[in-house]
Symmetry: C2
């Protein structure tokens, strides 16, 4: 497995493989890999010939008050995990070099980025969109794979790729959960033992409400209220709980098309997100 820091070198690696007719699969990450990331790597292995993983804690998607500095990093552990999983190359750019000091270009998506996480993190998706395009232009993948835990991120990236005609196919992998149901996240390590237990109110209420909605036992309005009460009663401080159309991300009052319940909650200082997709039967 190669570890490559320079853009021209990862690009040369990719072009060489492409010239041999190989399909390049790409899993962009911020490192501190857990089974969620590794499931995306497994999917990339199945869908492509060569798998490249990027590890880059992207500064432009963090606001000044957010956790850029303390975001967990463990390159050695990530390297081993990638090696074991059969990754062909890690792209590991230097945070200080990857953006020019006078960079002045942004890739901006104006519709799907507005609500949910975009409402409380107004410049987040501008940073995500810009770095994903930089990474695509560095790695030159045929396929890129993103996790559905960041549901809005996936929607925004698919839209950017569609609108700008990027020659990259976007695939997704489902949320991977701990045995007790908490969605895996690099940020889970911030949680105290009590916060960790209380945070289960997120996934428990999402699963319970999914069942109730499918069985038509409750309305959308009821659903939102129940989740809010459950999480708040467990000490969570809610950023948002929304039920949105799975395609447009527009808030729904009725359960007509496939919907997503998307949640962002603080437990202590740690902001967790989770979601559940509910197909209209």
């Amino acid at each position: 497995m190669k570890i490559i820091k320079q853009i021209d070198k990862i690009r040369a690696f990719s072009v060489e493989k492409k010239m041999q007719g190989k399909i390049i699969g790409f899993v962009p990450t911020m490192g501190f890999l857990h089974e969620g990331h590794l499931s995306l790597i497994d999917k990339a292995k199945k869908e492509s010939d060569i798998v490249i993983v990027s590890i880059f804690v992207n500064p432009t998607q963090f606001a000044p008050n957010e956790d850029l500095e303390k975001y967990p990093r463990d390159f050695e552990s990530d390297r081993k995990a990638c090696e074991l999983r059969g990754v062909d190359a890690i792209f590991y750019p230097d945070a200080k070099e990857y953006y020019y000091p006078d960079a002045s270009t942004w890739v901006i998506e104006n519709e799907l980025s507005k609500g949910l996480c975009g409402a409380s993190r107004p410049e987040h998706f501008r940073g995500v969109g810009t770095v994903v395009i930089k990474l695509f232009n560095s790695v030159l993948p045929d396929i890129a794979i993103f996790g559905e835990k960041d549901y809005q991120q996936v929607a925004v990236i698919k839209r950017i790729v569609r609108d700008l005609n990027f020659p990259v196919k976007i695939l997704t992998g489902p949320i991977i959960r701990e045995s007790d149901g908490l969605a895996m996240s690099s940020r889970n390590k911030y949680l105290s033992k009590t916060e960790r237990e209380n945070a289960l109110s997120i996934n428990k209420s999402l699963f319970a409400i999914k069942k109730a909605l499918i069985e038509k036992k409750i309305t959308i309005k009821d659903a939102l209220k129940i989740i809010e009460d459950n999480i708040t009663d467990s000490g969570g401080c809610i950023d948002y709980i929304k039920i949105v159309d799975a395609e447009t991300l527009i808030e729904q009052n009725t359960f007509k098309n496939t919907i997503v319940i998307a949640v962002a909650v603080f437990f202590g200082k740690t902001r967790l997100i989770d979601n559940i997709i509910i197909e209209r039967i």
Copy 2:
């Protein structure tokens, strides 16, 4: 010479040539080709193995009050000119299909786009940046060639390509002028005979002032005043006359580094631009 309207087909054409080890040169245009465009095609022929020209009057770089509808078009004449010049393929996307009706993504450059044409056409460079990225992702060129008449456009595109790590080398070709010195432009055809004569005040004053500045006979302030008077006396309505640093596009009060005198002037309803680069000796 192929004429290709679909994105997947131009991409397949390009990938096939790349797999043969060919270098793809690209000249994006809005059609109504003149010797300025053709000089860029000639340069592309020299610098690459396969030359693709796009012809697309990009709606997103026109403001509602601008000349999108009446912008001159003559595909048959353009086709012949490309064929004669040895172009390998014309990419000729359908204006109604190239943007999705619900497109919501923009490529935005925030520094170099601000002044000059960006000041009077505030959304122009957002449209330019976005379409150039769409075109690059459609055509997949190794090299792209732009004309220096749109000096600010070149600077913005170079910045976007640098910041987003696009794997495309940007080359430029010098302004091509009519025998009397007027910079070639598809918009020159809008000019009445009198306007056409009066418009020569632009290039005449630019060349005279270049000489005077090099010979250190005048200051920057004098230079701006003389150009303004010359053009205004000829009936031109000035949008801007600026002397800027050739790299940063920041306005200059003294002639320290290489500068550009950039001008936008209306003669009648027709907005013309021109510029002249003056290297510090």
